[in-house]
């Protein structure tokens, strides 16, 4: 069973930024890496992926350039900016905080009266 859309919503940019922190990359490759890292459990829908690139470029978190002609279809590469690195850091910390909050909110508590 796939992960429902809304659960991952808002993490798309962070997932992409994480990979661009390692090296410049392009949509198709990033998505293949997502599949590999999740052992096939998750992948972006194409529209989601390319919408995210446009959004992040507008926000100044990434810049784009066309890859030189190699074999296969032309590739649009993306590089992370300084602003993008800051955003990644912010988002990364937010994820850790959120994870803690959800762990607290999704567990049933004993009904103790001592509170």
């Amino acid at each position: 069973m796939p992960i429902s859309a809304d659960i991952l919503r808002g993490h798309t940019d962070t997932i992409i930024l994480t990979q661009l922190m390692e090296k410049d990359s392009y949509g198709y490759e990033i998505n293949k890496n997502v599949q590999k890292r999740t052992q096939g459990q998750y992948e972006f829908k194409e529209a989601t992926l390319y919408t995210a690139f446009k959004r992040m470029e507008q926000n100044g978190w990434i810049t784009a350039y066309w890859g030189e002609d190699g074999p296969g279809a032309r590739r649009r590469y993306y590089a992370i900016t300084d602003a993008g690195r800051e955003e990644w850091k912010r988002r990364s910390e937010e994820w850790h905080r959120t994870r803690g909050l959800l762990d607290a909110l999704l567990v049933m508590e004993d009904n103790d009266e001592s509170n």
Copy 2:
């Protein structure tokens, strides 16, 4: 700094269901509990909360009844249904899976060639 909306998106129903698994409750109380459990770090916007109740009632995960007149404003209580309990279980498992996926996707990997 508050948790951004999109990060929690999709967890609203699960958070509410978790509390209804413990006992019948009403909007205001559920939200106070969210604040308590997160030490004030998070709370629902009212519109989000009551939208969620309506949605979940339509989905058959909860049922509603008016609390008998006590002191203060009248309360609308919600009770979880069997379908709701199943949904909670599904969502709960999904959260644990998602947490694992995100942990894998938001960490930088060493650039090893051995793959």
